[in-house]
């Protein structure tokens, strides 16, 4: 009788967990504080058109957002980017979030941090650090991020986090150019004292979609990672918790993107645009309000973009009559639009989509060809052909 006394909900955006049905207010807020980042990872989830530093919200704007988020009933704030530590006022933003009763999560690449800064962030009220790694092999990691010395620095940052007795999550985006190192990535997470490891297969939007052929693993490689994670989860029970994010090209059902549109997660861009998901700007016909013009609660409840695909009323067949419609919400609107031209169609990740077979084949074909060069993530980078990365 005693097994599950504490039902668990993930507050991150790519999770398969569903927010409780009573939740009318969002659970989590993803705050993209800046699109500036010294790293150039080719699978970055930021839009291909990066927002410039001179359009970023001010400190006072973010302080106001945090206060409003607390009042709206948001529980957790994910401070992300770009690289959030590139903002010199991060301490003030964290302090405002803590004051508003929000649980604060820093999603960082780590390379700009010093121990002193991390200590200041902790003192400001930071609850948790999620540190990304590109690989355990330093040379390969620095090549993927196009940032020399990054891998060595990250190990140091992980040590500081633990020395300061803060909980640490390692986030390892997985793709064909690091996938064979998964067992070593798991060992790395244990070694640095992480309590959680996100084994996150790259999600193919934005930069990652541009680089899909350079990143997509084969089905066999993907299945291999699932088996490794399953075994490690059991072996490391009570030591390391796992979040396993699958590539939906190899899934049978689509993921419940964002836990349902406008249902549990809210996203704010560096310039203050409020989005139902970080890729929503790729969809036509949506109006995105700014926190500069309108209260956050009003945008969440009544904003056109949030209402557009909230719930299940907007659905067409096969979603409309599908018994899974309240489980996966028809998958991802952005992927549906990108591949079918209509965001209200079912996501091709779903086996009921007429495009599913063709779409799944793309992954199979690309993953067996020689990987092309990366198109590195940087301002204007998507317009260039794949050149040698510049040092940041």
């Amino acid at each position: 009788m005693m097994n599950d006394h504490a039902a668990e909900t993930s507050t991150s955006s790519h999770s398969a967990a569903i927010a409780p049905s009573c939740a009318r207010a969002p659970i989590g807020l993803l705050a993209e504080l800046t699109h500036r980042c010294p790293l150039q990872c080719p699978y970055c989830s930021n839009p291909v058109d990066l927002e410039r530093a001179n359009t970023e919200l001010s400190t006072a704007d973010w302080v106001s957002v945090m206060r409003q988020a607390g009042e709206l009933g948001i529980l957790q704030i994910h401070l992300s980017g770009g690289e959030p530590t590139a903002r010199k006022d991060l301490e003030e933003i964290i302090a405002a979030a803590a004051k508003a009763g929000l649980y604060t999560n820093l999603i960082t690449a780590g390379v700009l941090l010093t121990r002193e800064r991390l200590e200041k962030l902790k003192d400001a009220g930071l609850d948790h650090v999620q540190l990304s790694i590109q690989d355990v092999d330093p040379e390969n990691a620095d090549r993927i991020a196009a940032y020399k010395g990054g891998a060595v620095k990250k190990r140091e940052v992980a040590r500081w986090v633990r020395e300061l007795d803060m909980p640490l999550t390692i986030n390892a985006p997985l793709h064909r150019q690091n996938i064979s190192n998964l067992p070593a990535i798991i060992d790395y997470a244990v070694e640095v004292g992480a309590g959680r490891l996100e084994v996150a297969h790259v999600q193919y939007y934005a930069w990652a979609l541009k680089n899909r052929a350079a990143l997509m693993p084969t089905r066999e490689e993907f299945m291999g990672t699932a088996a490794i994670v399953d075994a490690a989860r059991e072996r490391l029970k009570g030591i390391l918790a796992f979040d396993f994010v699958v590539p939906d090209y190899y899934a049978k059902y689509p993921k419940p993107c964002m836990g349902g549109w406008g249902r549990g997660i809210i996203n704010i861009t560096p310039s203050g645009k409020v989005l139902p998901c970080h890729a929503a700007e790729s969809l036509p016909g949506l109006t995105f309000d700014s926190v500069r013009d309108r209260p956050l609660a009003d945008i969440w409840l009544n904003g056109q973009a949030f209402q557009a695909y909230r719930g299940t009323e907007w659905m067409k067949e096969p979603c409309k009559s599908c018994p899974r419609k309240d489980i996966d919400y028809g998958g991802c609107r952005c992927q549906a639009f990108a591949l079918t031209g209509d965001a209200a169609n079912t996501d091709p990740a779903c086996s009921l989509s007429p495009l599913h077979a063709e779409w799944a084949k793309v992954a199979d074909v690309e993953s067996h060809k020689t990987a092309p060069d990366f198109v590195y993530r940087r301002m204007g980078g998507a317009k260039e052909s794949a050149k040698e990365p510049q040092d940041a």
């Binding site: 006394h5 504490a6 009933g73 529980l75 999560n105 609850d127 909980p167 918790a241």
Partner: protein, 99 residues
């Protein structure tokens, strides 16, 4: 032999003295009328039993002592309660909610 430098799983027993780490927050979620536990990228919704137990987890009392408090409070046999809450706390320890 386990490497002394390696982290190991915490096994909860009657003599274990547990606490909520600083980064785990048990709080009332007024907007939704429920108690919640906030942790790294997680929200847990504890049931009434778990809430009663967690309120007694203070870094001082042992699990057995908590069972005694609850036994007196609910007039139930302490050994049955001890078995139940040991299992529950093991699950919460595995989730990182207590340590």
């Amino acid at each position: 032999m386990p490497d002394p430098g390696q982290p190991t799983r915490l096994i909860v027993e009657g003599g274990s003295v547990l606490a909520l780490p600083r980064h785990i927050k048990l709080k009332h979620d007024a907007g939704r009328g429920r108690w919640i536990i906030l942790g790294p990228e997680r929200v847990y919704e504890p049931d009434e039993t778990a809430i009663e137990v967690l309120k007694l987890v203070d870094g001082q009392r042992s699990v057995a002592a908590i069972a005694h408090v609850l036994a007196a409070q609910y007039q139930a046999p302490a050994d049955v309660i001890l078995e139940d809450i040991t299992q529950m706390l093991q699950d919460l320890a595995d989730k990182g909610v207590v340590r």
